[in-house]
Amino acid sequence: MAGTIAQDAAPVADDPSAFFLAFAAALQRQSTYPDGHPLLRQAVARVHEQMDALLAGRDAVLVGVTPERLLIDDAPLANDGPSTRELARRLHRRDVGAIRLTPGADVDELGALLRAIARRDERDDQTAPGNSRQVALPHVQLFPLQFGGLALAEPEADEPTLAGDGNLWEQLVHLAVGPHDPAGDHASEQVALTLRERLREPLLEVECANEITALLAGAATGASLRGRAGAVIAVLEPADLHRVIAAQPDHAAGRALVAQGARALPASGVLALTRAAAAAGVLSASDATMVLMEKLTTLASATSGRGRGRADAALRRHVADMVSAAEADSGPGTTVEDPAASLGPLLASDQWARPTAPSPSWAERLVRLGVEVDALVPVVLTAIDTLAIRDDAVLVAIGDAAAPDNSVGAHIRAGAFTEVALTSMLTSGTVGDVALTQVATALGPQAVGPLVDSLMAAPSRRERYRLGRILAQCGEAAAEAVAARMAGAARPVLRTALAYLTHVRSIPAATPISRYARHPDAGVRAAAVRLLLTTADTREAAAVDALAADDPHLRRLAARYFASHGAPEPVIAPLVAIVRDQTQPSALRALAVRAVQGSRDPAVFDALLEVATTRARLTRRARLAPLTPHVVAALHVLARGWSDDGRVREVLDLALEVGALTPVRRSASAVAAGLTATTAAPGGRHE
């Protein structure tokens, strides 16, 4: 059996270029000399001789014509010289798509072929329709180029385009010959009948099925075997085809056979093969499908009509789609892009079409639809995954808004409202506060870990505040988690953790914050003191310790604390020392002045008076000290607390003379008006 097919596929003559050289010369003479000229006859005879050599051992040879080269049975010429390329160009300009040569052609027949070609005017529009007619002689057929199969390429089309792809010219050659390439010779019928008979013999069944499979595979890639393949399938009955399908090693091979058939066979053959595959369970095709396929086959097999080609194409494409669908993974859907995206700009560009409602992305639309119809199906799952990558915030909002018993909403929440998802959102940095808060609130304590990790790594104060606000909503667990991160942590982490705890005014039990008040890092110390100052249990001791520290920053924190809360007796002396210490910054001394304002200690009075006045270098007369912050504060405190003292009145008079700052002036004026300073003076300590 193998020999039968192999005979058809026998290689052409070793050097077919001799035939084409003779053909080119004859074509040239055909254009130059009148019919019957001896030189022309001689040239045609030469072609005839070479044709015998070309066809030796073969049923037929199909010569394809592309703009740049000639093909023999779909394969380019091995020795593709300038003369054969020039012949290709000349034939192409004469609108020749292919020439089929079969044994038996005589000189007259070849002469007729050459005349037909030579008469095809290269540049005459009027003759174009006539030119498109094929020339059919007994042993020679000329197929004009056909352009009916061209269409605008779809962006997603998997077909190669003509752009830089010579294969499409080869497809145009196939198109010229047509899918309905008749077997054309008695040999093909004989082969078909022989195959059918042997297919029915049990011993030869598998071998014969393999032969048919090889034939279809060859026909799917080369035009020369299509006629024979069509003839074979045409004579096989359904039971025979079933045997061929059943002989395939598995269903995938069976489907591959159908796919090859869809490329190579006439419409009726495609239908027969599909039906056999469906009967064998290789392909899923309902009765309804077969009804419509029969209709398309009928249309495609019509003898004429514009719809014939489209029906044929629709039939083949549908079978190819059926095969692809059967091959496709049965996993989640793959649609993540809008299948009609190209129509969108048309609406957007229309001046009337101002959108009055938001137009969501395709993935969002699908997810919303999934929620609204409560369909947790693969395509919706794919859309959820897509949206999770592109716009977490939207997905979170959809999940949050969905009803508790909605399956899609529950799935979103299960996926998006997890520690892992929260970590991903925090890492991406693209999710807004609202969505993060929704997830954090839904997760509760589980959200603390990712949030604390992000908080600790936050690059800016703004980001820390942002995350801190969200974390604060997680309650006490958050504070404990933050405190747990502090042991052995680096300085930035410690500062952030202490700042967060300060923000929530919480000191988890067993967290030795006071230890951090003595940390080598000034920032950590300050953060720890700030935290200690927030709670009633620790604030006073912390302030006292801070006031005694060497760190001016801590002393300032302590002074500020006492300034607003009042200073207890034990710290009056150190505060007075700060007031008197001229090396301290004025702002700190001012805080110390305000801290001691409630005290009636004489040392305080002396210190304030000393601060507020100075003496002229020469006359030694008392005069008001320069109005620095601590002097102003001292004047204010003196006016309020000690205005009945004569020395204070003198100082205040000086203050009025020099036009001191408003608060001092107001206090001094009040004193001058006879009001007792104590009526306006602040009380004692604020407890």
Binding site: P67, D95, D125, A128, P129, S132, G148, G149, L150, A151, L152, A153, E154, A157, L162, Q171, G178, A285, S286, A288, V291, L292, M293, K295, L296, L299, R306, G307, G309, R310, A311, D312, A313, H318, D321, P332, T335, P339, A340, S342, L343, P345, L346, L347, S349, D350, W352, A353, P355, T356, A357, R365, R368, L369, G370, V371, E372, V373, A375, P378
Partner: protein, 411 residues
């Protein structure tokens, strides 16, 4: 010179002129006007106004133009990725000029002007790009044969039967077979392009019991036409057609008595209003390839402002395909004979669509739909389920004012 040659020369001249003169210049306007007028002439020919530029070959529709072999503009366009140009009568003068500008940009002569559509962005009425193989060899028909309608020889018996089966399947098994729905639409596409000019095959059935089937096929047919009008490629058109076919699949489970009832109670109305949701659910659970159909089934009663029914969780503009399906569905319903009211005339139906633009319908879609049927290039052809039933298949011109008659759908 033939009209096609004259047009291509004028097209090249227009591009050259655009390179020299800015928008509004009289010389430019005159050249573009002339080219556009030539395009109008081209549309009068029996061949489709489409060109392929393959190397040094120029092909008009399916016929090569030998006199333009080696025409330098063919190579230039082909090298710029414009191997195929397709015009429809829908193209406006302004759209034509914008297309020329984008072509000019594509040819790489200047940077794109701000308001010039970038290469690839569609202009309604013209499509261009690379070329690929489409179909097996058709027998070319002579121009004189174009008037011979192949549609007359066809029926929609198989499509009707399979659609009926799909609806029955949906009702009984809760599944919609996607493959069969696609095959119906493929078949409708074959029928649509069976003549030289595209047609809109419209099914006419006498039995009201088949209203849902008839409505589905006719909406599919109209959506295919409108999608192509809006520039959809063949794959998009196929999916949009499937969306049109299945948009009312949720009605499969609505009792027939309810559909035939004149006055509905609130409960009954609410039952009918559930069909978009039920349809979408059905389609989503029936396969991964029906997502677009599910969206259209759910949204085909949405308004452009996001209202309508069913009430969405968040108001949103309907998808463009939902808008296409809605216009076609409403128009088909208006033009259909129903139990309690007669079919509207074509003109009255189109006026309704026009008046609803912006409120009920997406304006751009409504405008394109009305334009398509008024221009009349896409002929509506009434087809019955069986060929024997259609001795009087009617060619309906867009200007037909007469009522469709009480005998069928859109007829």
């Amino acid at each position: 010179m033939t009209v096609s040659v004259l047009f291509l020369h004028s097209l090249a001249q227009s591009i050259a002129t655009i390179s020299l003169y800015g928008r509004g210049h009289p010389a430019r306007g005159k050249t573009v006007d002339a080219s556009f007028a030539m395009l109008d002439e081209l549309h009068r020919l029996p061949r489709a106004a489409q060109f392929s530029f393959l190397g040094e070959n120029v092909v008009h529709d399916q016929t090569p133009i030998p006199s333009l072999r080696g025409w330098q503009w063919a190579s230039r366009l082909s090298d710029a990725g414009v191997q195929r140009l397709e015009f429809t009568p829908d193209l406006t003068r302004d759209g034509f000029e914008r297309f020329l500008e984008s072509l000019y940009v594509r040819l790489g002569q200047v940077a794109a002007a701000a308001d010039t559509p970038p290469p690839g962005e569609p202009v309604a009425g013209v499509r261009f790009g690379a070329v690929s193989m489409y179909e097996a060899s058709p027998d070319p028909i002579e121009p004189g044969d174009a008037a011979t309608s192949n549609v007359a020889a066809y029926s929609l018996a198989e499509e009707t039967a399979v659609t009926r089966w799909i609806f029955a399947n949906a009702e009984k098994r809760g599944k919609v077979p996607a493959s069969e729905a696609e095959l119906i639409v493929r078949s409708l596409l074959v029928l649509r392009h069976a003549d030289a000019a595209p047609v809109i095959p419209i099914l006419r059935l006498a039995n009201f019991g088949d209203y849902a089937v008839m409505h589905a096929i006719n909406v599919a047919s109209l959506t295919l036409a409108l999608a192509e009008q809006l520039g959809a490629g063949r794959r998009e058109a196929l999916r949009i057609g499937v969306a049109g076919l299945l948009h009312d699949i949720g009605m499969a489970s609505v009792p027939r008595a309810l559909l035939e009832k004149n006055q509905l109670t609130p409960d009954e109305r609410e039952r009918i209003h559930r069909h978009p949701r039920e349809g979408a659910q059905l389609l989503l659970t029936s396969g991964n390839t029906l997502d677009l159909a599910a969206i259209a089934a759910y949204e085909h009663h949405f308004r452009p402002d996001g209202t309508g029914y069913p009430t969405p969780t968040a108001p949103r503009r309907p998808h463009v395909v939902s808008s296409i399906v809605k216009v076609c569905s409403v128009f088909t319903a208006l033009r259909s004979f129903r139990v309690h009211w007669p079919a509207w005339s074509l003109a009255r139906g189109l006026r309704y669509i026009e008046s609803g633009a912006g409120v009920e319908f997406e304006p751009a879609v409504a405008a394109a739909f009305v334009r398509m049927l008024r221009r009349g290039r896409d002929r509506q052809i009434s087809v019955t389920e069986h060929p024997d039933d259609m001795p009087d298949f009617a060619l309906l011109d867009a200007g037909d004012e007469s009522p469709a008659g009480d005998r069928g759908v859109l007829a």
